[in-house]
Symmetry: C4
Subunit: 235 residues, 4 copies
Amino acid sequence: MTIQEMKERVYKANLELVSRGLVLYTWGNVSMIDREQGVIVIKPRGVEYDDLVADDMSVTDLDGNILEKGLLPSVDLDIHIAIYKAYPAIGGIAHTHSTYATAWAQARRDIPTYGTTHADHFYGDIPCTRALTPEEVAGNYEMETGNVVVETFQERGIDPMHLFGVNVGGHGPFTWGATPEASVENSVILEELSRMALLTEQIAPKAPKLESYVLDKHFLRKHGANSYFYQSKEK
Amino acid sequence: MTIQEMKERVYKANLELVSRGLVLYTWGNVSMIDREQGVIVIKPRGVEYDDLVADDMSVTDLDGNILEKGLLPSVDLDIHIAIYKAYPAIGGIAHTHSTYATAWAQARRDIPTYGTTHADHFYGDIPCTRALTPEEVAGNYEMETGNVVVETFQERGIDPMHLFGVNVGGHGPFTWGATPEASVENSVILEELSRMALLTEQIAPKAPKLESYVLDKHFLRKHGANSYFYQSKEK
Amino acid sequence: MTIQEMKERVYKANLELVSRGLVLYTWGNVSMIDREQGVIVIKPRGVEYDDLVADDMSVTDLDGNILEKGLLPSVDLDIHIAIYKAYPAIGGIAHTHSTYATAWAQARRDIPTYGTTHADHFYGDIPCTRALTPEEVAGNYEMETGNVVVETFQERGIDPMHLFGVNVGGHGPFTWGATPEASVENSVILEELSRMALLTEQIAPKAPKLESYVLDKHFLRKHGANSYFYQSKEK
Amino acid sequence: MTIQEMKERVYKANLELVSRGLVLYTWGNVSMIDREQGVIVIKPRGVEYDDLVADDMSVTDLDGNILEKGLLPSVDLDIHIAIYKAYPAIGGIAHTHSTYATAWAQARRDIPTYGTTHADHFYGDIPCTRALTPEEVAGNYEMETGNVVVETFQERGIDPMHLFGVNVGGHGPFTWGATPEASVENSVILEELSRMALLTEQIAPKAPKLESYVLDKHFLRKHGANSYFYQSKEK
């Protein structure tokens, strides 16, 4: 894939966040990685979407060094890099401040698995990280944010290819996937699950979590070797 | 009615769920039955709506055997079949993961009859089924889901032609009607009733249920032999 | 004003309820009265908005007798008539099942005056009527519903020209005004006030009511002899 | 800048409030000040947006004396003037009755700093003023409203260039900025923060406030001498 094609995809994926109502103003960013070429493409920082074109996307190497003269990359680039380095199977990352997911991040709570809608897409509760320490914030804040994501999955033994997102405590959600498009779809779904989970607790404060055998059934009929959910239209 | 006409109607009914905001991505499906011809038409599984055309709708017999080469039917087909077999008067079924109705399903609570808006369309509380057992999930999960719907109505003595929908506990709503269009309308109304019921409890946690004589009045002025609510524009 | 002009205005006022998001399907109706001519124009019952044209509006005398061959008037006509008879200064009435206002009706609570937004448009708490008795429901249900609105204002000593709406307990809101357009505007505002009042209680369960001297100030700077709020663009 | 250009900007800023969903009917107003020319431009009072053109904007001097024959200025003009006089660095003010911010005003609570979304734009809790006294309401009500805003910031030692907005208790939000466009953006953001803060408390009634060192980090990376967030597209 050419860098130009990567820029087009990252640009469209960023616009999709806006059209889905997940992003106000410049809040949010999507990136894509090509590990073979050693290239990351990401939305530039602090520019209004109306002013952006695909060619404005920033291009860096896997350590964040800028490869193309142009706009500076998102300030969150180092968060993306930390996650890319830890999870070699992912190809795209999306970050938003979508309303309901961010509310769970601010509440510092994992998003509980209350139903099959959740189980169809995330294999268990969506974790909320701990707060960063003063030292982490004073250092490379953005990279430490990514590190805390990785630490959370590691300490809890969560497989990032079964649970494609996280809430950074006090901040908001990051989601990922095999492609930037998949990472955006996971942001959209995470927002809807966040809303449903709150409503569930409002209807029944002691609502039970989904039965574990139903969680398995729903996740595995859509993901992995025995899935029977998707099909290609090509016949 | 030709199969082609059925496909058109099922296709449009599926799109209506999207335009009404009840469906994200591929979440949801509508089917139609023609009992004389022995045919069910249903949305194919796991294909984006943008990629679908009417001709893609799947065609099966009343046991789910595929009659036309093409896309595989919705994974929920067996749920539809179980309901069609139990309720001979219905002609269409809709399934969604609409936000508020699903939240009640996740909360494992019946949706209480709080007002005349509810009484105009559903003759009493909308039931939430029990969870499926591990054995039911390990077997023909989708058919067992349909069976649990039928069991719920049977055990509680609810007439499915007076109460056109249900919540599957931990999953979400199924609605039905004489036609696929009616089943979709009932999904839209169920979602609004679900939202109103939650808001009612938030305003008054001990809100009374609607007086039973008002429930009767409102349901019966719109449904059945003595209804005086609807009219045809043809004069 | 000709009957044709009345039909156009009533038709447009009904459509405004839809475009403002206050009405699903056929839920809701607007009427207009011309007391000199002895004519009421109201939306016909149970017809989809998409199928309606202005000429379909029903025309009756002040007792509900149909004056023009055509579609039957809204089943709620007698509610409108009871209110028109009691309040000679009003020229239009709107009825909806808008989400938040209906939730307050279902909760059987008056909508408290929590802020100046409320005070700008309604001079005090918006009352919720008592439930109708079994006898009232068994009789002329719709006319008794109107009577209970009038009874509520009378017993509480509320001036209907200072408080342009009511919630019928377990049912939903009716609003009025000098014109059908004003009655629709009051429905829109009532819905927003209903939403704000619930949110206020969620943020502070013991929120104080608006200071009475601020209520007076805001209502009276917009209504009555000493108002200084509105101006005509004609200069 | 010519008065005509100011009118265009104020007009567009007012329309932006509508298109962002922050304003129903005529609820809300934006103004702009040119201190060198001694001119304030503000939306006229009580005229529907559909009837307005840029040339209708009202022009006054810094004491509110009308400089151009035309429509009367917003009744809230004196609130704007009181704030402009106290804060010489600001160039625009926006006032709305947006749903969630107004609910916090009605609840008489400061909006807590629960997350980095808040910290990116407002440097701490958004204050809610005290209620006005009967004497203040009976006097120049609008000017006293502005005075109470200024008093609140003064008494609490808040820098209005670090915290660009306030809720007037029982009334609603005012926001400001270097330009009218910035004041509108701050209204949009305040509304979103108000919604997120309520949701946060609903998810976790005892949610902690954002760590102060994270508040500093986020606010200061976007504002002030050491910010590294924004860039101009001109390269």
